[in-house]
Amino acid sequence: MTEARPEHPVIAASHRRPLSSRVGSRRVRRRLIIATYAGWLVFAGCVKFLSYGPLPSIWLGLILVGGNLIVQAAWVTRRTIISTPALVDAELDERLIQSRNAAFRTAFKIFGLAALIGWLLAMVAMQVQPNNQGLLNSLILFMGVAMLATTLPTAIVAWREPDPAEPELSAG
């Protein structure tokens, strides 16, 4: 069944706060997605730039992990109808379940391709630069693919979800 059932044991175990139906316009959401991924590329570029300074490699790795955690906190931990990939079926209706499943299918295809390209580039980086720079480039690629793996389904739902329903003129 696709009905929302607050007494469902899975929800009862994981329920923190009600699911929000408030979503921004599609245009704003799409800009946010582009800003997120573009921002991450800029962030990775900054880490790469820092690697030419005196900062130890371990710190660069921690900065990368921290950046990924921030992106994931923004995209994965929210409880709105956009965050359907992280929610259980009992919290969703049939439209949201369809939307989530379609997003997972698309994300899987994109992620598979990104993982393959990332792996090949990481191998090349390790061969061409057999030192800390090669390792760092591989780590950046790994973090990028890891970030895609966790945020892509939610980003796809956000990209596809239509504009929200117009405000009601007459109160019920």
């Binding site: 696709t2 009905e3 929302a4 699911l19 139906s21 979503v23 109808i81 969703l92 209706d93 049939e94 439209r95 949201l96 239509p162 929200p164 329903a165 117009e166 009601e168 007459s170 109160a171 019920g172």
Partner: protein, 83 residues
């Protein structure tokens, strides 16, 4: 993209003075889904279509149609004139 199914959910909801949230709660769907149904952005499953029709106490074909609905006024008064 499948062809859009026409529906009278918005009209029926307004007629009964229901908010989207009330209808959503009654048929077990999300508030936004009601809006998308009304706008034709989403075609419901047969099960959901039946649930909505049952909630309004109408036959399925009175709420959903594959063809655009004629305005209520022309349906009501058009028939009376021809009768």
């Amino acid at each position: 993209m499948s062809p859009s199914i026409q529906n009278r959910i918005g009209v029926l909801r307004a007629e009964r003075g229901l908010s989207r949230q009330q209808l959503a709660d009654a048929v077990g769907i999300n508030y936004q889904t009601v809006g998308y149904l009304e706008r034709g952005d989403y075609n419901p499953s047969l099960e959901l279509a039946f649930r909505i029709a049952e909630y309004f106490g109408l036959p399925l074909e009175a709420v959903f149609s594959r063809q655009p609905f004629a305005p209520m006024s022309s349906q009501l008064y058009g028939k009376e004139e021809s009768a």
